[in-house]
């Protein structure tokens, strides 16, 4: 929490000016009852006696003036509070978003996307609420408590001490309850994550749910998440609701004590009945202020739970460390080299055969060479690409790109060499042009050229607005094959050194697929192509083909060679090409 507050403290000057005006406004407002008492007690009798109305007009006018002044001061302070908290929150959210964008694949997996989304939204809202409240009432209430105590101490120090004696109880209640609140609100937030997850899933699976008429089942599933959230919220609320009444109770009992002690003191002549009456007035003020402070603490527990969740993300150190070698010498003579690479998604120390997704893979790709990767579903093809682009680090072994270990590259530096069309790629709700240029500084000509090569130009121009057409959510207005061609265009547009196509033509008909491949080899011949595919026709013309089976490399070579010496490859080829093989 203290680290969240640092964002607010960044605006020290504005905070101080805001607080100062707030304090002044509070004080000025307190003058109103004072002036009123003055008018009724002194001015009016005098006016009645003298018939001179000037003092009445003077004090009345002053009161009006003070009322106006108080308005402007409070308004100014409130606006300033709103301004500083929104600026602080904006910066916090920017930083968190930047951090999330930089998380490694493994970190993203372990937080889960729904949880990241809710940390960036609802947790930050909680902190925002807290920032607002501490500025608006955070200073006024303590001021009243302190002021009230000082004035009552001048009235009767012993009675004030009696009242002060109850304060430790009050603080203990406030602290224990707000401390208890933190884990309770953490539980609330994680059950919200769970609820968000169900909603997300069902939005993406709406067709399947409807097809199977499973709406009722999904409603029940949501009901489970909903009830869990409600249960956690009630548990948190039940605890937090206790603090207010308990605080009033202990202060009020303090008051009873004051009366009892007061009885003895008055009896002994140490105090006067009038003092006790005045004491009661200030006591009410203090009580209200303490209850307000308590409200701040309730908000504190909530915000503090949220801040902890935010900093969980902020503190997750990049697990993809950049480790430069001292001499910077070339460690490999190839464009790409995999050297004895093994990998598991799970425990990095568990190297049992069952857990390894890739097993001791070594291969090289040179400039002007192209690479095809083929193998059964789940054999580890996409994992090779994830390692090459360093979404994950290898469990054993090293990967070199242009002679340097990929661990030496800045993440952006490594990935800018690639243009990749993934299986789980995404179309954004944005223009087609923007979906292809994807935030890179690309000219329209480059975008157009890429879309022509990807055989996407015609259907893009067929849409209303052409390249300026706004794609609908998740590319809902494009067919599966059209989306894939947009992904390919996106990958091509940056003229990457290494072009990666991860089963990107699975939804394309063979004719279109062939046209795409032809266009790539003629228009983008400088790019080294790495293609993962199920279709033999997508890889058979590659300079080098790797055959994977259950994480092991069981063949590597040209089509003709593999037809000779790799049974699995031969079987795949014959099954697809039939008599044409």
């Amino acid at each position: 929490m203290s680290r969240a507050l640092k964002y607010l403290l960044f605006y020290k000057k504005r905070l101080i000016s805001g607080y100062t005006v707030k304090i002044l406004g509070t004080v000025v407002e307190l003058f109103i009852p004072w002036i009123m008492a003055k008018i009724l007690d002194e001015v009016v009798p005098a006016v009645k006696a003298s018939g001179n109305y000037v003092p009445l007009i003077f004090w009345g006018g002053l009161m009006v003036l003070v009322a106006l002044l108080a308005r402007f001061m409070n308004m100014f302070a409130n606006r300033r509070a709103a301004w500083t908290s929104k600026e602080a929150i904006k910066t916090l959210r920017d930083d968190l978003f930047e951090k999330i964008m930089s998380l490694s694949g493994k970190q993203t997996d372990s937080f889960g996307i729904p949880s990241l989304v809710s940390r960036l939204t609802s947790d930050v809202y909680n902190i925002h609420g807290f920032f607002n409240i501490i500025q608006r009432i955070g200073v006024r209430a303590p001021l009243i408590i302190a002021g009230g105590l000082v004035i009552s101490a001048t009235l009767d120090p012993v009675l004030t001490l009696t009242l002060v004696a109850t304060l430790p109880f009050v603080f203990i209640i406030v602290f224990t309850i707000s401390r208890k609140g933190v884990p309770l609100y953490t539980a609330v937030q994680s059950s919200v994550d769970e609820m968000v997850r169900v909603i997300r899933e069902d939005i993406s699976g709406v067709r399947v749910i409807k097809a199977l008429s499973k709406e009722d089942y999904e409603k029940e599933r949501f009901e489970g998440a909903n009830s869990a959230t409600v249960k956690n919220e009630l548990r948190a609320a039940g605890v937090m609701a206790a603090s207010g009444p308990f605080i009033s109770l202990s202060l009020n009992l303090g008051l009873v004590l004051v009366i009892i002690v007061g009885a003895f003191r008055i009896n002994s002549g140490a105090s006067l009945p009038g003092v006790i009456v005045a004491f009661l007035t200030y006591f009410t003020m203090i009580l209200n202020a303490v209850i307000t402070v308590n409200r701040i603490f309730v908000d504190y527990s909530k915000a503090s739970a949220s801040a902890a969740r935010v900093w969980d993300v902020m503190d997750s150190e990049s697990d993809l460390k950049i480790t430069p070698t001292a001499d910077g010498s070339k460690a490999s003579d190839h464009l790409i080299e995999f050297r004895n690479v093994s990998f598991t998604y799970g425990d990095q120390k568990d190297l049992s055969d069952e857990k390894l997704v890739l097993k001791n893979i070594s291969f090289t790709v040179d400039k002007n060479e192209s690479l095809g990767i083929i193998g059964a579903t789940g054999s580890g093809k996409s994992t090779i690409l994830s390692l090459l682009m360093r979404y994950y680090d290898t469990t054993c072994g090293d990967i070199f790109v242009e002679g340097r270990n990929i661990k030496e590259y800045e993440p952006g530096e490594l990935r800018s060499k690639f243009g990749a069309a993934f299986q789980n790629d995404v179309i954004f709700a944005d223009t087609v042009e923007e979906n292809i240029s994807f935030g890179r500084d690309l000219s329209h000509e480059e975008v157009e050229k890429a879309s022509k090569a990807a055989q996407a130009y015609d259907f893009i121009m067929g849409k209303e607005g052409g390249f300026e057409h706004e794609a609908s959510i998740k590319g809902g207005d494009f067919s599966g094959g059209q989306k894939q061609r947009l992904f390919i265009a996106r990958a091509l547009a940056g003229k990457p050194e290494i072009l990666i196509l991860d089963d990107s033509s699975s939804a394309l008909d063979y004719k279109t697929d062939a046209k795409v491949r032809k266009a790539i080899s003629s228009e983008y011949s400088d790019s080294v192509l790495i293609s993962v595919a199920q279709r033999i026709s997508s890889v058979m013309k590659m300079d080098k083909i790797i055959v994977l089976d259950d994480g092991k490399m069981i063949g590597c070579g040209k089509h003709e060679e593999l037809m000779e010496n790799c049974d699995v490859y031969k079987e795949i080829a014959q099954s697809q090409l039939g008599s044409l093989a």
């Binding site: 990935r415 709700a429 008909d509 004719k511 279109t512």
Partner: protein
């Protein structure tokens, strides 16, 4: 609907503000509150009780203090008796207010729970097109953020308003009793604050609506980009997206501030009006006293009551902001609830039973927007048990055909019949249940592998599930997972490839006993060897069923009873594999392309 669509399409930063109807939002909230009339009545009773106690408190302490007459004259017995009564009274009052606060929170939670469930249930009844046009992040924002805003406001503000009303009414009565003439001063200031507040809420309301909307848009962006984080990293696009987020974040934060900025004037201004009325009361009271129309004592107690009177008004003015944002949130929630649902089944819709599987598509025209037809004059006939393959270039309208068969959309003209009944005459449920479907975009949900496979069959046994998984050749992969069939999958799961997801959904379809089967690129990401291995299982799956297969790998459809070649929404060719090969037309060239 139209309005929402606009929001989404206009998207980033260009949205248009619409006039809002606060009464509808209030009615909406009341429709929930009114379900708990009795509990609310009880809450009102508790409020009254604790407020009355609040008035008795000073009375008791006054009596106790009266007993402290001065040095040596203290009536200890009376003082202690009242002190004891006070202690009891404070305990009761604390218990009451704790009870009240618990009660309000439990009512609120009941309401919130119901509201969330209603929104979700509603989502389940919305047509597929709704999800094609609305950002998931914005929908989520309505269920989480907006409902949470309502939650906060209901659990604290309602009690406060109830309590304030009691105090305001009580003090007003007291003031009228003391001096009806001085109350006339209030006749100026109360309408003044009222009119001012009304005017200001008119100004701030759209700002609060805009705030909710902007936050929703930001959520939409966050959901989209965080979900696509890997792709963005792949293009080293983090700085660009961080910058874009910065803009959207700024817009959202500014909208938040704008609402707060205007709102910040309400509290202090109402406060000022109250203070001015205090001034007027004091001055006129003084004049009345000077003119001998009032005693000084009644002037000062009038002033005391008018302070009591204005306190809650100030507080109310301070929570107006919260109420406004709750109303704006309620409006957004209500908008989902008033979306058009999938049109209801017609009155005497027929429950499709003992399906034979005769499907006929007759002269169907269809487009997602009326001006652009995707399918044109499309007809086909599939007799029970036949295998129909649909091939053609991407974007030709193949997936659209499935949308129509499953009745996710209705055709613009023409008709689709199953066993002689027109789709529209059937209950959607029975129609959809009669198809099993494996789609290109596979879907797994957060649950165990077992649950994912058994999804369409309520009481599937472990044996059945394992058998289906074995047939789909996914059993050994499952057994490799840490918890076997109990391994929990997530939507964004990493350990499962797209091909494996397809095998899972094939296993799922195997458990569903339907007479018609749709395979839309069901094995596009499955390698051909695995595909061959599951061939016999697929044949068993297809046996006796009317099958619609969409596939690019033409080897998988060679044995179809009829192959339909679609291009640009029209049927180009139809016939068996050998007929079409002999024709040397569109089909032949598609086939030949496989080895290009």
């Amino acid at each position: 609907m139209a309005e929402d669509k606009k929001t989404v399409i206009v998207g980033r930063g260009k949205a248009v503000e619409h006039a809002k109807d606060p009464k509808a939002a209030l009615r909406f909230l009341w429709s929930y509150l009114s379900r708990f009339k009795l509990l609310l009545l009880f809450a009102l009773f508790l409020t009254l009780a604790s407020n009355t106690l609040a008035l008795v408190g000073p009375e008791l302490s006054g009596k106790a203090i009266d007993a402290l007459k001065g040095k040596g004259m203290v009536d200890f017995e009376t003082a202690f008796r009242y002190a004891a009564i006070m202690a009891v009274f404070f305990v009761v009052s604390a218990a009451l207010s704790y009870g009240l606060s618990l009660l309000m929170r439990s009512i609120t939670q009941k309401i919130i729970r119901k509201m969330r469930q209603d929104v979700f249930d509603k989502l389940m009844t919305l047509p597929v097109s709704y999800f094609d046009t609305h950002m998931a992040g914005d929908i989520i924002s309505r269920i989480s953020y907006d409902i949470d805003v309502i939650n906060t406001s209901l659990s604290t503000d309602v009690v406060q308003i109830l309590a304030s009303t009691v105090t305001i009414v009580g003090s007003f009565i007291m003031m009228v009793k003391i001096s009806p003439i001085l109350v006339l001063v209030m006749c100026v200031t109360i309408p003044a604050s009222f009119l001012y507040t009304k005017k200001m809420t008119g100004i701030t309301r759209p700002k609060f609506s805009l705030r909710s909307k902007r936050l929703g848009e930001m959520n939409g962006f966050v959901e989209e980009t965080v979900g696509a984080q890997k792709v963005i990293q792949g293009y080293a696009g983090e700085p660009v997206y961080v910058k874009r987020f910065g803009n959207i974040n700024r817009i959202a934060a500014d909208a938040y501030y704008d609402a707060d900025y205007m709102n910040a004037t309400i509290g202090p201004t109402v406060n000022m009006v109250n203070n001015l009325s205090l001034c007027l009361v004091t001055i006129f009271g003084a004049l009345l006293y000077i003119l001998g129309r009032m005693t000084l004592g009644s002037v000062s107690s009038f002033v005391l009551y008018s302070r009591k009177f204005s306190g809650p008004i100030n507080e109310a003015a301070n929570i107006i902001g919260e109420l406004q944002s709750a109303l704006a949130a309620a409006e957004r929630v209500n908008r989902i609830l008033s979306e058009d649902v999938e049109p209801a089944d017609i009155n005497d819709a027929y429950e499709l039973q003992d399906v034979k599987g005769n499907v006929e598509v007759k002269k169907v025209d269809f487009g997602y927007s009326p001006e652009k037809l995707i399918l044109k004059d499309f007809s086909l006939k599939a007799d029970a048990g036949k295998l129909i393959a649909v091939v053609g270039p991407t974007g030709a309208g193949k997936t659209t055909l499935i949308n129509l068969l499953m009745r996710f959309y209705d055709p613009a003209s023409g008709e689709i019949r199953v066993d002689g009944y027109e789709n529209k005459e059937l209950t959607r449920r029975s129609l959809r249940r009669s198809y099993a479907m494996v789609l290109q975009d596979t879907w797994v949900f957060g649950g165990t592998i077992f649950d994912n496979i058994a999804y369409c069959k309520k009481d599937a046994s472990m044996e059945e599930v394992v058998a289906a998984a074995k047939a789909a050749h996914i059993h050994s992969f499952i057994m490799h997972q840490p918890e076997g069939y109990n391994t929990v999958l997530t939507e964004d799961g990493v350990n499962i490839s797209k091909g494996q997801k397809q095998l899972l959904t094939i296993a799922r379809a195997m458990l569903l006993d339907a007479r018609m089967l749709i395979l839309d690129e069901a094995t596009s990401n499955v390698d051909t060897r695995t595909e061959m291995h599951i061939q016999s299982a697929m044949e068993k799956l297809m046996k006796g069923k009317t099958c619609f297969i969409i596939a690019h790998r033409l080897s998988t459809i060679e044995h179809a009873d009829e192959i339909i070649v679609v291009d640009d929404g029209r049927i180009k060719e139809r016939g068996s594999h050998s007929e079409l090969m002999a024709k040397r037309g569109a089909y032949y060239s598609l086939y030949a392309a496989q080895i290009e």
